[in-house]
């Protein structure tokens, strides 16, 4: 199919036309090819790339499937997502990652990159067959035990060393397990009043510090998942200044929500790592703006209603993220003038694609680049309605929020998978 996004603004602010033919951008400029889609007032960015998504398939298809998660991704402007390994069975073999990869292809709404487990069964004891997953059809490059921390320093060291042979990266969920036994929320003034067991910042920072030093020692590549503390930002800033090969992510929810929301005891705010203080939020925003934090990743974590409709300690950790991520980042970073649209495109598309080695993703829009594009309307706000989300689950903490920026079209490999804010039913095959 050939069409032109006419009168569209690039992240740089330049207003132009983007012509697309097949799966490629044909031209950017005055030329018009094929059908014309008027995009006056809209902005085109390279399709968003999520490096941290929980799809729940195989094993918990009542919460989310590869297909429903792909729909949510497309609605949220994503043309790629990365399926975390903590499924059932765990994605710790070539067989499971290939299954997820195939389901992603079948869904055809965005590119689905399986993340492989670092250790067998996420147990933290024996390395999974990382090489086999890397060589599989899924070509896994990102490995993570997310949900659990690779806490044994020797296992972590070996994993970092081993993935060097195929250019892999270890994405660490930084949480010292001993310091967080039974932990329910950020440890501080609010937890002291609420009588909920604390999840101290030091449990995150101690692992980050250790892993930075390990990555330096073995000269490998480390990615820190969901940074949440001011101290963690400082550690990554220091590591980068030393030239250590570390990247870091922050979630949209940690850029906006704080631990005082737990005072409601509503488990919709229960998430791991937990919501922190306002001081942490400000440090995360500053770190994202100055490049210390490389990317925004959703940590999209669907849960069935019954896992949130209960008392706090019985509830599951996790929040939805795919369909609200861009709007939250616009609200916290662009509307506050902390970041430009170009920077937003970097942290939500270009950089995550680089970390994951996703060749057809996060490519700045130019003639010849892959036709993975999100078109947004910065002038319109929308109200989040959990019932209207495409995810199978409803556990968004933003229900009722009025957020800036609508996602108007999502173009995946030249196909309008979302047009005028609705899934078209079309897919890329």
């Amino acid at each position: 199919m050939t069409f032109t996004l006419k009168n569209i603004s690039l992240a740089s602010g330049l207003v132009t036309n983007i012509a697309i033919d097949g799966t490629q951008v044909l031209s950017i400029g005055s030329e018009i090819h094929g059908d014309v889609v008027d995009c006056t007032g809209l902005i085109a960015l390279p399709g968003l790339v999520d490096l941290h998504t929980h799809l729940r398939e195989p094993g918990k298809e009542d919460s989310e499937t590869v297909l429903s998660g792909s729909k949510a991704a497309a609605k949220g402007g994503y043309t790629a997502l990365s399926a975390m390994a903590n499924t059932s069975p765990v994605a710790d073999t070539a067989g499971v990652v290939e299954q997820v990869y195939r389901l992603g292809k079948e869904a055809g709404l965005c590119e689905v990159f399986p993340i492989g487990a670092v250790t067998v069964g996420l147990a933290g004891e024996r390395l999974a067959e990382l090489g086999a997953m890397a060589q599989s059809a899924a070509r896994v490059r990102v490995f993570s035990d997310d949900g659990k921390c690779v806490s044994d320093p020797l296992v972590m060291r070996r994993a970092l060393e081993y993935v060097k042979s195929f250019g892999g990266v270890i994405a660490q969920h930084a949480q010292d397990p001993r310091l967080t036994e039974g932990a329910q929320m950020n440890e501080g003034a609010v937890s002291s009043r609420l009588g909920l067991a604390g999840w101290p910042a030091v449990a995150e920072e101690a692992i980050i510090a250790r892993d930075i030093l390990l990555a330096d020692h073995v000269k490998s590549r480390l990615h820190i998942c969901h940074l949440t503390t001011k101290g963690g930002v400082e550690l990554v800033r220091w590591a980068k200044a030393q030239g250590i090969n570390v990247t870091a992510e922050v979630t949209p929810h940690h850029l906006i929500l704080t631990d005082d929301l737990v005072e409601s005891y509503d488990p919709i705010f229960k998430v791991n790592p937990p919501l922190r203080t306002n001081e942490d939020v400000l440090a995360l925003r500053a770190g994202l703006a100055d490049g210390t934090i490389d990317i925004v990743a959703t940590d999209h974590a669907p849960h069935p209603t019954e896992d949130k409709e209960c008392e706090w300690s019985a509830a599951a950790f996790g929040m939805l993220g795919l369909e609200t991520a861009l709007s939250v980042v616009v609200k916290t970073m662009v509307e506050t003038n902390a970041m430009t649209w170009e920077q937003l495109a970097n942290v939500m598309s270009v950089n995550p694609a680089k970390i994951g080695g996703y060749d057809r993703q996060g490519v700045p829009l130019a003639a010849g680049s892959p036709a993975n594009i999100v078109v947004i309307d910065p002038a319109q706000t929308w109200q989040v309605d959990k019932e209207a989300l495409s995810s199978k689950s409803k556990n968004t903490p933003f229900h009722g929020y009025v957020l800036p920026t609508k996602i108007v079209h999502t173009v995946y490999e030249g196909i309008f998978v979302v047009k005028n804010q609705e899934l078209t039913g079309l897919k890329y095959e």
Binding site: L194, G195, S264, Y265, E306, E309, E311, S313, A314
Partner: protein, 316 residues
């Protein structure tokens, strides 16, 4: 007054005075042959206990029965409720049974608030202890006990010095008492090893001490908390013997206290650990009074929250 009692924060100082004076009034009325008042006749009070606590349950049950309410004990521990059946399902069952008040004890902090806020139930929810969060009626009965021990003060505790000693970190009794006593003007000092004080305690309206011997002579009230021996396995303190030596209320410490000072304990006690038998049974101890005051205070809470018929009528 709010229609729920989930936290001491739900009560204004005026509400607290009203509860304490109602408890005193109930004591006066029921201090005779009329032990039972008809004021809550036809009302149903459900004791919903997800955690064993015979003493608290019996206290609420007695309070409700003395006000002529119908009482249903719904012990969730060990039944279908603890495994599988959710708080929500249980709440909806109670709603269908027509409960007017639900007295809930739960091992999870915030469970009472969750029950009240969820919309699953329209009954008045009374928190009878939620995890390590709060136990508001315990604090109210403690305040009632203190006010009776210092009758000149009439529940104005300004300048009263109260020490709360022991496992503050895991104590719902301590959290409720800190809020309540400071609302009434008392000066509260928490005495504990640093391991048993929560991170963030510096934001509480209290003084902190790690040393029990420092100012023992200055306190009007010494409230001892139960220590759970299994805490040792998490390194909160090295041994029972060391804990007892550093933070236990023994004979020698008892003798150093002010003449007018009282000793309290929410029970159940570990005699010989946080409190010696001689301290527990001494003339300063009001521990046994706390039990009786518990019934009166809970009667007052039920009466005020459920809006029973006026006491003056029923007193006749």
């Amino acid at each position: 007054m709010k229609s729920q009692l989930l936290s001491i924060n739900d009560l204004s100082t005026a509400d607290i005075h009203s509860i304490l004076s109602t408890a005193a009034e109930l004591e006066r009325i029921t201090d005779g042959p009329t032990k039972k008042l008809p004021t809550l006749r036809g009302r149903t009070v459900v004791n919903l206990f997800f955690e064993d606590s015979t003493r608290t349950r019996i206290s609420f049950e007695t309070a409700a029965k003395r006000l002529s309410a119908d009482v249903i004990n719904f012990s969730a521990k060990g039944s279908s409720v603890s495994k599988g059946e959710s708080l929500k399902d249980t709440a909806q069952t109670l709603q269908a049974m027509g409960a007017d008040a639900v007295v809930i004890r739960h091992g999870s902090s915030g469970a009472a608030q969750r029950l009240a806020d969820s919309g699953w139930i329209s009954a008045t929810v009374i928190n009878a202890g939620d995890g390590t969060h709060e136990h508001p009626t315990q604090a109210l009965l403690d305040a009632f006990t203190i006010s009776k021990s210092f009758p000149d003060r009439k529940s104005d505790f300004s300048g009263l010095r109260v020490a709360i000693v022991g496992d503050i970190l895991h104590s719902r009794v301590a959290r409720s008492n800190v809020l309540l006593l400071s609302k009434l003007g008392a000066s509260v000092t928490l005495i504990a090893p640093p391991t048993l004080l929560p991170v963030g305690v510096e934001t509480w309206p209290v003084k902190i001490s790690y040393n029990m011997d420092e100012q023992l002579e200055e306190f009007d009230v010494v409230m001892m908390l139960r220590i759970q021996i299994e805490r040792m396995s998490n390194f909160f303190f090295p041994s029972e013997r060391e804990y007892s030596r550093q933070y236990g209320l023994n004979e020698e410490r008892l003798l150093r206290m002010k003449k007018s000072a009282i000793v309290m304990h929410p029970g159940p006690m570990n005699r010989g650990l946080e409190i010696s038998a001689s301290s527990a049974d001494s003339s300063r101890s009001v521990i046994v009074d706390q039990v009786g005051n518990g019934v009166l205070t809970r009667m007052a809470v039920l009466y005020l929250l459920l809006g029973g018929a006026a006491l003056t009528e029923v007193g006749q």
